[in-house]
């Protein structure tokens, strides 16, 4: 038995190996689960019978034409499981004018002239600007929370494991990989996304997926197409070339490759993801000249190995976010 030292037991200073060993043994049992928002709402929605009776009586009076139910006072369609919203003034939740409430699953929130904030369970918030319309498609603690941004502007800040939060738009689905970003969708369904921290996945109707990391922005195009992410300080040359690509102009890929600098490597890595197999070699050759593949692997080796290709893309991403040194690598044989 070791000699006890009360300081460690009290405030974790000093030393007591036996207490430390018991801590290590038992610490996996510590509580880590997030707050179960849905359970809170379920409890709150259990109205006492007296209140329920009063509501039933009031409804009966309405039916009898004795009372005009005030449209903005109750929000009966905005209770139950969903996402909590709040605003400095009334916004429209399923047609009810409310300053706070719960946006239910399949419910629609329209901010009108005000800003509103949605609480995404215990993982983050989505601030909605004026003239924004969202629908809640899904919310399951620990699984998935998904909104549909029909139009307007949303600033999302989420701290959660990847792919827990997603935003569908008329143009693309934005899958959160744990980050902060701003999206804007116009009435035609087109829009932009600008990523401030972390990275997001943009999924389009044809199944293509591009990854937009912090410090990049991308256009969300009608027809459910996401454009290539461009760095926020992208040159006019590559910006114009990417716009040509979005418009489907011939030779656009060549123009994007010609305009790319080392800082645009993240754009080129994403281009390699979405081009045809026949076009990929050319794109990878340019990528290799900007950021050589890890271990100086050749383009042929990368094309033959999907795993190596993913490692290369990750390498480009890590250099982009500053996690890796971007010092040029002198490969003995050019990739």
């Amino acid at each position: 038995m070791t000699k006890p030292d009360d300081d460690y037991l009290w405030d974790k200073t000093g030393d007591d190996p036996e207490v430390a060993r018991l801590e290590a043994l038992l610490s996996p049992l510590a509580h880590q689960a997030p707050l179960d928002e849905l359970r809170l709402k379920r409890r709150r929605s259990k109205l006492p019978f007296v209140i329920a009776g009063a509501i039933a009586a009031a409804i009966a009076l309405v039916i009898m034409g004795k009372v005009v139910w005030p449209r903005d006072s109750v929000g009966t369609s905005c209770i139950g499981p969903g996402m909590v919203f709040s605003s400095a003034g009334a916004v429209s939740c399923n047609g009810d004018a409310l300053a706070t409430g719960v946006l239910p699953i399949h419910g629609k929130l329209e901010t009108g002239s005000r800003e509103a904030e949605l609480t995404i369970a215990d993982i983050g918030t989505a601030t909605l600007s004026a003239n924004t319309i969202v629908r809640l498609d899904q919310t399951q603690i620990g699984k998935r929370h998904q909104l549909y941004l029909q139009e307007g502007k949303m600033h999302a800040k989420v701290i959660a494991p990847p792919k827990i939060f997603a935003v569908a738009t008329p143009s693309a689905d934005v899958i959160d990989l744990g980050c902060e970003y701003t999206m804007e969708i116009d009435r035609s369904g087109a829009g932009t996304i600008s990523v401030q921290t972390g990275r997001v996945e943009l999924e389009t109707a044809n199944g293509a997926v591009v990854l937009a990391p912090a410090g990049t922005h991308a256009r969300l195009l009608p027809g459910r197409r996401a454009s290539l992410p461009l760095i926020d300080r992208a040159s006019p040359g590559i910006t114009a070339a990417v716009a040509e690509l979005e418009d489907g102009k011939p030779d656009a890929i060549g123009h994007v490759l010609a305009a790319a600098t080392k800082a645009d490597a993240i754009t080129i890595a994403n281009l390699a993801r979405i081009v045809t197999v026949a076009q990929r070699r050319t794109v990878l050759e340019t990528l290799g000249s900007l950021v050589p593949a890890p271990g100086c692997a050749s383009v042929s080796e990368a094309l033959a190995s999907p795993d190596l290709l993913e490692i290369w893309y990750d390498h480009v991403y890590l250099i982009h976010v500053g996690a890796f040194d971007a010092t040029p690598v002198n490969c003995a044989t050019p990739p």
Partner: protein
């Protein structure tokens, strides 16, 4: 403005957060959960099996939210909340047989080679007087320091220190008698 407020709540004194939660601010309530969920877990774990404890934590907070308006003194929140937790744990145990060591073995999230010892220590902790078992579980399982335990239970720092000291002494005796601790120490 809401975001800024939310950030402010995180650093606020407990009464400020409790008052905000009483006014219906759900982020303030989430902050209370962040600050006190481990303490609630420790208190219920002193009574119920591990697999049931997390569920009772959620239940305790759901009840607390429902009754928050009845709490007159915001500074009394810690003792009030833990009292709800103890009652929920006791309600849960009604009609059930006491937790036996073997019951929990398969459900403990520890390596198989250490599960038996973890279950043995947990069982030994539960045989201690209530004040000691709760305080020691908060210290050894939830990882709270003595001052944090005092803050989160509403007990005085002096009482917590005494509970930790006396409880640990009894636990060492228990484990020494059962041969659980020394066998695997070092």
């Amino acid at each position: 403005m809401q975001l800024a407020y939310s950030r402010a709540v995180q650093g606020d004194a407990l009464p400020v957060v409790v008052l905000a939660a009483q006014r219906g601010d759900r982020r303030a309530f989430a902050e209370l959960y962040r600050r006190f969920s481990r303490a609630v877990h420790g208190v219920v774990l002193a009574k119920v099996r591990y697999a049931d404890a997390a569920d009772l934590v959620q239940d305790t907070f759901a009840l607390a939210l429902e009754r928050l308006g009845q709490l007159g003194e915001p500074a009394a929140f810690p003792g009030w909340l833990l009292s709800i937790a103890r009652h929920r744990a006791i309600d849960h145990l009604r009609g059930k047989r006491p937790v036996a060591m073997g019951d929990e073995l398969p459900e403990l999230p520890v390596a198989a080679s250490r599960a038996s010892e973890a279950a043995q220590v947990l069982t030994a902790l539960r045989t201690l007087p209530e004040a000691y078992q709760e305080t020691l579980i908060l210290r050894l399982v939830e990882g709270l320091s003595g001052p944090e335990i005092a803050e989160q239970t509403g007990l005085s720092p002096g009482s917590v220190r005494v509970n930790l000291h006396r409880g640990m002494k009894l636990l060492r005796e228990q484990l020494g008698e059962n041969g659980a601790s020394d066998d695997q120490a070092g």
